[in-house]
Symmetry: C5
Amino acid sequence: MSRLSSKIGKHPGSLIYVGRNAPRYTSMDLTEYNSQELNEKIISEMNEIRNVDSCVSWLNVCGLGNSEVIQKIGDTFKIHPLTLEDVLNTQQRPMFEEFEEYIFVSLKMIQYDNHKVYAEHISIILGDNYLISFQETKGDVFEFIRQRLRENKGKIRHEKADYLLYRLLDAVVEHYFLVIERLSDDIEGLETKVLKEPTIETMNQIRKTKKQLTYLKRSIWPLREVINNIMKSESKLIDPKRGTYFRDIHTHCVQVADTVETLRETLSGFMDMYMSVINTKMNEIMKTLTIFAAIFIPLTFFAGVYGMNFSHFPELDWKYAYPAFWGGCLFLVVGMYIFFKKQKWL
Amino acid sequence: MSRLSSKIGKHPGSLIYVGRNAPRYTSMDLTEYNSQELNEKIISEMNEIRNVDSCVSWLNVCGLGNSEVIQKIGDTFKIHPLTLEDVLNTQQRPMFEEFEEYIFVSLKMIQYDNHKVYAEHISIILGDNYLISFQETKGDVFEFIRQRLRENKGKIRHEKADYLLYRLLDAVVEHYFLVIERLSDDIEGLETKVLKEPTIETMNQIRKTKKQLTYLKRSIWPLREVINNIMKSESKLIDPKRGTYFRDIHTHCVQVADTVETLRETLSGFMDMYMSVINTKMNEIMKTLTIFAAIFIPLTFFAGVYGMNFSHFPELDWKYAYPAFWGGCLFLVVGMYIFFKKQKWL
Amino acid sequence: MSRLSSKIGKHPGSLIYVGRNAPRYTSMDLTEYNSQELNEKIISEMNEIRNVDSCVSWLNVCGLGNSEVIQKIGDTFKIHPLTLEDVLNTQQRPMFEEFEEYIFVSLKMIQYDNHKVYAEHISIILGDNYLISFQETKGDVFEFIRQRLRENKGKIRHEKADYLLYRLLDAVVEHYFLVIERLSDDIEGLETKVLKEPTIETMNQIRKTKKQLTYLKRSIWPLREVINNIMKSESKLIDPKRGTYFRDIHTHCVQVADTVETLRETLSGFMDMYMSVINTKMNEIMKTLTIFAAIFIPLTFFAGVYGMNFSHFPELDWKYAYPAFWGGCLFLVVGMYIFFKKQKWL
Amino acid sequence: MSRLSSKIGKHPGSLIYVGRNAPRYTSMDLTEYNSQELNEKIISEMNEIRNVDSCVSWLNVCGLGNSEVIQKIGDTFKIHPLTLEDVLNTQQRPMFEEFEEYIFVSLKMIQYDNHKVYAEHISIILGDNYLISFQETKGDVFEFIRQRLRENKGKIRHEKADYLLYRLLDAVVEHYFLVIERLSDDIEGLETKVLKEPTIETMNQIRKTKKQLTYLKRSIWPLREVINNIMKSESKLIDPKRGTYFRDIHTHCVQVADTVETLRETLSGFMDMYMSVINTKMNEIMKTLTIFAAIFIPLTFFAGVYGMNFSHFPELDWKYAYPAFWGGCLFLVVGMYIFFKKQKWL
Amino acid sequence: MSRLSSKIGKHPGSLIYVGRNAPRYTSMDLTEYNSQELNEKIISEMNEIRNVDSCVSWLNVCGLGNSEVIQKIGDTFKIHPLTLEDVLNTQQRPMFEEFEEYIFVSLKMIQYDNHKVYAEHISIILGDNYLISFQETKGDVFEFIRQRLRENKGKIRHEKADYLLYRLLDAVVEHYFLVIERLSDDIEGLETKVLKEPTIETMNQIRKTKKQLTYLKRSIWPLREVINNIMKSESKLIDPKRGTYFRDIHTHCVQVADTVETLRETLSGFMDMYMSVINTKMNEIMKTLTIFAAIFIPLTFFAGVYGMNFSHFPELDWKYAYPAFWGGCLFLVVGMYIFFKKQKWL
């Protein structure tokens, strides 16, 4: 959120990138394809886009640092200033908005690295025959789709831009499963720790993992509504027969959200577990202390008694006083043992 | 979830089985019946299915390991690739989808084994005059229905495929009650343990049983919506007069979900119970320690006093000093006893 | 739930009674009335029912153990097999279902006995000019209505069967208030116990009473929806002018549900209370121990010092060493007293 | 709730007052007004009500103890028996019901007295040109409105009975703010107590105040819906232009409910606070004990060692043994001090 | 809330300011602008407002202390008395109301100062060609908009009053992000404290910060609905093409509410963290005490034994008794060390 405040006081639609310290560059690569041909090039000027009716033009923009380039794209494709703002505002929740000329979808690409979860803001603008995708950094999750386009596998080359939209969304959502598997592994590791060696560090890790899941949930939860809105959209840009496909993504979203919820519940269970392990351990410690104290404190008292210096102290001169003392001690210890056995402390 | 990530990067509709380490085979048995006749056979080729109008064809597929066979079934019955994907994706939540030619229902068969709950993914495709059911392993829950078909009991042989769908769903849902009874028994056993001998192991069992119930809930909860959707469906494949039957399953689902919720609440109560038992025990331990310490520590001090070696120590030479010492001790012990009695510690 | 599993594998509509170990008999008493006349008789055959148009026939069935009788009733009044199943399935949630010829209502009669709450399954079938009520055991809650019929008090004899339905539902719901009052008394008793003498037994009673309330809630909650559905029903069997009456029952249901919720909240408060009482007591115990230890352990040390046998030990020979020792002890005790006073432990 | 059970078994609409031990009388005062004139009188017979078309008749009934009087009012104004029952059932939730001839509103007047909250049941019947209000006891909250009527201030004398309804509801809702301020003061007082001197009594007060808020919430929550229903009502008895006024009351209700919710949350925070204060104090106590024990127990041991009576005990005869002993003690104490300093216990 | 009760008993629409001890003055500054010209002046009389059709008149009222001035504004612009009451009732939740001649919006301006959050009540009345904004104190959040008007930047001078409404709302909502960043910083600081040095003060700060967030939530939550109502409003005062702009504010509101919720969750996590840190520390303390006690109490006993004064005490005269005693002590200490090592206490 750190850079969001820097935007305050600017006029609406002012293009300021508010992301994490990502590269400040912006590169564009263009893929134009139909069932016959495929052209890929890295472009730097807008006029390099042919935008031929017979082709689907996919413009992939990496890095949101150069707001001039973003502005130019906006001008070329007649994008509403507030949409461009939403592209750059990487703090934005996933959203769907329908305009006359295009539809706008934003969502979160999730990356897992070293027990932490990072969200990358992805925006997609789907127009008539073109699709523009914006990424914060050059990720590899879309690379696979590009590969399929090149190899002309499946029906992707034979379909319009709305099918590409489906494939991009599908790629992002399927990536969630990977992240969740990683987090599941982390959580499994925590389970052992909680039961075996619960330290404050363990507790802290539970809390941190829970935070990651909250973060994940906030990225995924609104996506369900976004997909739902795409399905219900009556925009002519989306073929009604895509319904089954988007319903499929929606089901996956629900499945991911479900799993996240289950993992969060599991972690909450760990918290309770931690507290009860700590408390049970405390009980053990206190029992040990009490048993030691209850046995030796009376014995010490009796030893002290016979260390007293009274002149008139008949027992001291008894012949079997000393062995009798040890006998008494033994008697006391056995009595205590039975008492604690009855209390189920031993 | 372990195999789900292996699917990432495949094109949509790619048939990869993501279940637990179930057998990698796929067998098919076909039952064709009407009120007059009944044929049962194990088939391996699609063309063995006659698909006569006058008969209901029930194809039961066991094992999802052989995706080629699944693909062939898909081709024969013109199943949408995403439906086939849903058949194989055993992580899928229960769902209902209506296509032009068929309706697709998936749900979870629950098995209880050794305090654990396993879910098996069941998919059912209901078409005009045929029904295909997919199971992960050869279960025995449908065997009873096959028996009724053979014996021509009830009205099952006189009805169309939608009645068979109802009977299959009903069989699965009724099986839930068995699993819940087993879990109820487990939970009753835990209750005694928590009250009598609460250990970390008990706590861990509570948590694990709760996990099983969460798992169960996730399988059953969405099923209510599925049944609801079947009821509201206006597909010509389902006779409107089936309403009462599906409403009956729905009521059972709600009843199961209710019971699961009550059991979860009971388990949460056990957690609180555990903590309070542990804390109350701690109180007992501390009281014991404090009573011992409060009685013997002062006594030990007094014994120590009369063990001092001062030259000028008048009491040491008193004739009744030693009995007086014991009298003082007795006085102290009685005083402490009254004090602790008043504190309600004894 | 114990007998429910025994039903599994039977065909739908199979009549097996799944209730608690209630009597296995089934008795029927018939009341036929209109504003002029009233006939009461215990019947055993269906043909004893005249079913004259000018009379309301109320058939009250006690005990669900004899499924043959139930089946006969079903045949006579043309009841759907699944409805009969719902009559016998005493685990069923309260429900309302509308058929062409009759409407079916099931609900729970609550009995309180020795701090426990029992639910009895009541089913009511309202047809044109007749009403059949099914009870698990011969209860006395409907007796009062029978009395009013005999005495021809109020307008009950002048109205049709739907008014009788209203009176039966009203009788059951009003009985809830009695049960809640009993539970309220139990809870008030628990409050004192938690504050005065919190033991594990108290905790266990809190948990058990909470379970009773959960049970009660599960019986009452769905009833609100049932009454709501009766109000919204457009069945010709229910006179629209009954609206005010059923709205009255609905309001009572909401009031009961509200009270149950408040009592549950109160019990949750007791749990917190219990824990804090236990913890506060622990604090008291620890303070006592610490004060004893902190005063006597240093004193014991000093007594030990002057009990040492060093040859060169100047203090031992001082004349006022012994009184000085006691002076030092007094000084220490006073110091500790001031210290603990400042810590607010005394 | 104590008297509610006494109603069970009576026919519906039977008039039995179920309130707290309020006076068993019923008094009526009638105010007839229009913009020109105003008549106030205490009446005892129904025929004293002129019910002239040109006047608004406000009949205020205090005390619900005399059910005959209530019945007479019911007969005169043709009130439905169930409405009269709702007037007397002071346990009733706030409700709104629309009849052909009148609309019925019931709500709760809240009184705060000595840290406790009492709800008084207020019922209002608004007919064509008349309004009947029922109170359990003679309160002073409506007195102010009577004063305004007498002084002919504002527009109240120029408006019809529905404006009077608005003013009565407004008076009750505004009184809620007073009660909430008092409870806020109580809660502020509790905050200091929890932090400074947390005792079981404090905990108990928190719980009791929470109970008061639950009670308040139960009175206020359904009122929002009641007001909402008045707004949506299409009864000809309420002028549509009153909308803004009732919306104003609705906003106040939401504001009160909001504040109650915040106060409840604050109290829950106090519970957590209490537990952590108690636990932190326990830590302090244990530290003190441990420090004392860890310093003096070893010292006592060493003093004990040199008090042994072995014949061959070289140290005893050393010249500087005694000062060396004290040196050793000092060394130990300093060592312990450093150890506990490092543990941050001192 | 303190002054709200002072309003009770006044007639509805009575203008009494119920805010915090803010200045009791009221100043007005008027900005009249269109694309050609801009006039700014501080006014004190209503007739200074020209209200020319070709201009947008923005009247900004600072300070709500002078109710006469507010009343005059109300009279001039024909504002409903209840609206004026809502302007002055600074305890009011954010709300939106549509009148025939104007629309009324109220919301909360949030200020952060020294770890505390203050809400300022902002009311806006949008009429045909004019906008009146009311502030409790002279804030600087609208100054930026005034600046843009002066510099004629963006399209604000070319648009009507509804665009000014959008800009004002946008300014307030964007300011929320600043406040949340400050609170985030506070919360980050608390995290370290909880882990490193958890004191009751830390706990209290957590609770207080949580209270701030609850306060914030109560201000922001209803705003979402307000903006939603503006979007859905069919008032001719708001140009339908503003939809995208208000949707943008709505998205920001949701984002703020989301973040507040996450922060609240984080703080709840801190509470659990605090308790577990305290409990783990307690465990450490108890271990230390137990180890000391378990080692030295038996040793002290043995030292006491050999300090006894029995006449017949063979060991005392053994030559190597004293070294043997030390040997025994060493043996005991090593044994204990191994025992505690095995218990994982060391």
